[in-house]
C-alpha cells in the first residue's frame, strides 16, 4: 500500500514536472482567414462533361447508395449503371471523421459529406468546386439548401445538397406532462425528468447547449453555436456539466436510444425523426417537436474529389442522386428530408415529405446545421479566436467525466 502511494506520488510528480517544463503548441493550420473564416486551395470546377469513364468510386453514409446487395428491393444504383455505363463501387463509412480520412487517400470520386466534414474536405483541398450547370437536376433543388456555409465558400458551390434533418426534442407522451416546447426540460437544473434524460454522444452536442444559451443567456452574445469564443464555450461546457448528473445515458447509436425510450429508461431526449418513427412503430408512445429555441441538425452534400480521374461519371452520379426518383428512395430509406421537391411525388409513403418537413424553409431555418468548429470564428468575428473541433473533443471527454 505504501509502495503504491509512493509510485502514485512519483507519477504525479513526473506529470507536474512535464507540465512545468512546458511545450510549444504546434497547430499549423494551412488555411488563412478569408471571407468565410478560411481560404480554400485554388481549384477549378469541371468545365464540361466528357465521355463516361466506365466507373465511379462512391464514399457514402450507409443507406445512401444501395445497389440491392443488402435488400434486392432497395436499389437505385443498378439502373444508373445500365443507363450511363458507369460502374458504381460503393464504400460506406460510419462517421464523418472516418469519411475525412478515407477521402484523403484520393481513391474516391464522390462523397456524401455532412456539414461537420465538408469544410475540412474543402480546406484540405480534397474536394473541388462543382459546376452546377452540368447537373441538370440541381435547378430543382430547394433554394434554401444551396450555397450554405457548409457546402460553399465565397458563393462558390462545392457540391449538391442531398438531404437534411433535425436533432429533435423527443419525449414519452405518457410520462412527460405537459408536452415540452423548450429544451429546458433537458437543461434546467430543476427538470422533473432528472435521471431520465438521454443526450447525443458527440462533441458536436456542445452546440446544442450553445443553442440553448443563445435564447436563455443572450448576454453571452452567441450568434452561431459552432462559433464559440472562450467565454461562450465555457458557458456551454458548464451547462453540459450541470446536465450530466441528470442524464441517464448518452447515445450514439439510434437503435440504443430507441430501446431506452421504449423501456422508459429515458423519457426525454434529443433524437432523429427516424428514431421517433421507429420507436412509434414498435408501440411506444413518443412524440417529437422542434423546440422554441430551434435545433441542431445535419444537411448532407455530395462532393467531387479533387484527384478524381472519373469526373464525368461523378457528375452523372451527382445528377442521378438528386433526381426525383433516387432522391425519394434515399430519403425514405434513410429517414430524412429530400432536397429535391419533385421527390415528394415519388415517395412510397405519401406523407413522407410532410413528416420530414421537406421544403419547409421556415422550419429548416430554425435548424443550425452541423458545421466543423474552427479557430476562425464562423460567425465572422475577427477580434476573438474561437474554439476548434479538437478543443470541442477534449471538452466533451471532460464533460462526461
Amino acid at each position: 500500500m505504501k509502495n503504491r502511494k509512493l509510485a502514485l506520488a512519483g507519477l504525479l510528480g513526473a506529470g507536474l514536472l512535464v507540465a512545468a517544463c512546458g511545450t510549444s503548441g504546434s497547430s499549423s493550420t494551412a488555411a488563412a482567414p478569408g471571407g468565410q473564416g478560411f481560404t480554400p486551395p485554388k481549384l477549378d470546377a469541371l468545365a464540361q462533361l466528357g465521355q463516361p469513364e466506365g466507373q465511379v468510386n462512391v464514399l457514402a453514409w450507409p443507406g445512401y447508395a444501395e445497389n440491392g446487395s443488402n435488400d434486392p428491393a432497395v436499389d437505385w444504383v443498378t439502373g444508373f449503371e445500365k443507363e450511363t455505363g458507369c460502374k458504381v463501387n460503393v464504400k460506406a463509412f460510419g462517421t464523418s471523421d472516418e469519411a475525412v480520412s478515407l477521402m484523403k487517400t484520393g481513391q474516391y470520386d464522390v462523397i456524401s459529406a455532412s456539414g461537420d466534414a465538408s469544410l475540412r474536405l474543402i480546406a484540405s483541398g480534397d474536394v473541388e468546386p462543382v459546376n452546377t450547370a452540368l447537373v441538370p437536376n440541381y435547378a430543382d433543388v430547394f433554394d434554401f439548401l444551396k450555397n450554405r456555409p457548409w457546402n460553399s465558400v465565397n458563393n462558390v458551390s462545392y457540391g449538391v445538397p442531398h438531404g437534411w434533418g433535425a436533432n429533435l426534442l423527443t419525449w414519452r407522451t405518457d410520462k412527460v406532462n405537459p408536452a415540452p416546447t423548450s429544451w429546458s426540460v433537458m437543461f434546467d437544473a430543476n427538470s422533473p425528468y432528472k435521471g431520465k434524460i438521454t443526450a447525443y454522444d458527440s462533441p458536436i452536442y456542445i452546440a446544442d447547449a450553445a443553442l440553448y444559451l443563445q435564447t436563455h443567456k443572450p448576454e453571452l452574445g452567441i450568434k452561431n453555436p459552432y462559433a464559440l469564443d472562450d467565454k461562450q464555450f465555457q458557458a456551454a461546457v458548464d451547462l453540459l456539466k450541470q446536465q450530466r448528473p441528470m442524464v441517464a445515458e448518452y447515445w450514439s447509436d439510434y437503435l440504443k436510444e430507441s430501446q431506452a425510450l421504449k423501456s422508459g429508461d429515458a423519457v426525454v431526449g434529443t433524437a432523429w425523426q427516424v428514431t421517433v418513427n421507429l420507436t412509434k412503430s414498435e408501440g411506444a408512445p413518443v412524440e417529437s417537436v422542434l423546440p422554441s429555441e430551434g435545433a441542431t441538425g445535419w444537411s448532407d452534400t455530395w462532393m467531387v474529389g479533387a484527384k478524381s480521374p472519373h469526373k464525368t461519371c461523378s457528375y452523372k452520379w451527382l445528377n442521378h442522386i438528386v433526381s426525383p426518383k433516387a432522391n425519394a428512395q434515399v430519403a425514405e430509406y434513410f429517414g430524412e428530408s429530400p432536397s429535391n421537391p419533385k421527390a415528394c411525388a415519388e415517395t412510397k409513403n405519401k406523407a413522407h415529405c410532410e413528416t420530414f418537413h421537406a421544403g419547409d424553409a421556415a422550419y429548416a431555418s430554425k435548424i443550425q446545421y452541423w458545421t466543423t468548429p474552427i479557430a476562425q470564428c464562423l460567425d465572422g468575428r475577427t477580434d476573438v479566436k474561437c474554439k476548434d473541433y479538437g478543443e470541442w473533443t477534449r471538452a466533451w471527454t471532460e464533460i462526461k467525466g
Partner: protein, 294 residues
C-alpha cells in the same frame, strides 16, 4: 543409396545438424518475426505516435516531437478520474469473478465425475461461442428499469442498479467469468488429493485445510485468471457504452479520439496508460509464480 545421401535435402539436413544455433534460429524466425514486427513493432509505433500531434482542422498527423499529449494526460483531472475508474472497475470485476469462479472450479476439479466434469467445462465455455454484443445487449435489457432484474428484486424491496458503473461491473464479470474459471480449474486439478487428505489426517478442519493448503497452492492460478479478467476489463469500451450510462472508461477516450476527433496521436497517448498499468501488474504478480501457470 549414395544418391539419396547426396541429395540436396540430405545435405541441408546434415548441414543443419552440424549447426545447432542456425537450426534454432530458423525454427524461431517466424514466431520471432511475428513477435518483433507485428507485435512489439506495433507497440513501438503506438508509443512513437503518442509524441506526435494532429492538425485539428485538416486532420493530418503532424510528425513533430512534443510532450503536449502527455502534458494534457497528466494535467487534466478528468483523465486521472477515468484512469482510476477504469482500474477500479477492472479490480472489482477480477474480485467478483474470482469469488464466483473458485467454488465452481473447485467442484469441477475435485468432486464432479469425469463425465460431469467434461459437461461442465463445455458449459463454462459455451458463452464464449456467443457474440460479445448479444451478451452485452442482453444485460442491457435485463438491467433496464422494467427488466428482469427489476421484476426479480422488486418483491424484496430492492431494485436493478440501472445503467452505470455497477452495471458495467456485472456485465464484464459475466463476460470474463470463463477466463477465470478455466485457469483455476487447471490449477486445482494439479493439486494432489493426498495433500488435502494429509491435512485432514493432521487434524485440520475443512476451512483450515482450505486456508493453509488449497488456497496457497492455487493462488498462482487465481492470479493467472486475474491477468485475463483485469487486462480485458482495462481495455474494454463496448460494455460500458452499452450498460455504463454516462460513465466512460479509458477505452472510450481512445475510441472517441480516433472516431470523433480523428486525433490518433492523443489516442495513442491514452492507450499507453493501460499498457503501463498492465506492465506494473505483471511485474507485481511475477513473484507469485502466476506467469508459470499461464
Amino acid at each position: 543409396m549414395t544418391t539419396t545421401l547426396d541429395s540436396p535435402r540430405r545435405k541441408t539436413s546434415a548441414f543443419l545438424y552440424r549447426k545447432p544455433r542456425l537450426r534454432l534460429g530458423l525454427l524461431l524466425s517466424a514466431p520471432m518475426l511475428w513477435l518483433g514486427l507485428a507485435y512489439l513493432g506495433a507497440l513501438a509505433a503506438l508509443f512513437v505516435t503518442a509524441f506526435w500531434s494532429t492538425d485539428v482542422f485538416t486532420g493530418q498527423v503532424v510528425t513533430e516531437w512534443s510532450l503536449n499529449n502527455f502534458v494534457t494526460l497528466f494535467s487534466d483531472a478528468v483523465y486521472r478520474t477515468i484512469t482510476f475508474r477504469t482500474v477500479g472497475i477492472a479490480a472489482l470485476v477480477t474480485v467478483v469473478t474470482a469469488i464466483i469462479a473458485f467454488p465452481m472450479a473447485f467442484y469441477m476439479a475435485k468432486f464432479a465425475s469425469p463425465r460431469a466434469r467434461r459437461l461442465l467445462v463445455i458449459a463454462v465455455m459455451t458463452p464464449l461461442w456467443a457474440s460479445y454484443l448479444v451478451k452485452a445487449y442482453a444485460w442491457r435489457t435485463m438491467l433496464s428499469g422494467n427488466g428482469v432484474l427489476h421484476w426479480l428484486l422488486n418483491p424484496f424491496g430492492l431494485d436493478t442498479p440501472g445503467y452505470g458503473v455497477l452495471a458495467t461491473v456485472i456485465t464484464l464479470s459475466y463476460l470474463w467469468l470463463p477466463y477465470m474459471i478455466l485457469p483455476i480449474y487447471a490449477g486445482l486439478e494439479r493439486l494432489p488429493n493426498s495433500l488435502v487428505d494429509a491435512s485432514g489426517d493432521l487434524g485440520a478442519r475443512p476451512f483450515r485445510t482450505f486456508r493453509s493448503v488449497v488456497l496457497p497452492v492455487t493462488f498462482p492460478a487465481v492470479v493467472a485468471g486475474s491477468i485475463f479478467t483485469f487486462s480485458l476489463s482495462l481495455g474494454d469500451y463496448i460494455a460500458v457504452k452499452i450498460v455504463g450510462g454516462t460513465s466512460q472508461m479509458l477505452g472510450n477516450v481512445v475510441y472517441d479520439n480516433i472516431g470523433a476527433a480523428n486525433n490518433l496521436p492523443f489516442a495513442a497517448t491514452v492507450a499507453t496508460v493501460p499498457v503501463v498499468i498492465m506492465l506494473a501488474y505483471l511485474a507485481a504478480v511475477r513473484r507469485t509464480g502466476a506467469l508459470d501457470n499461464l
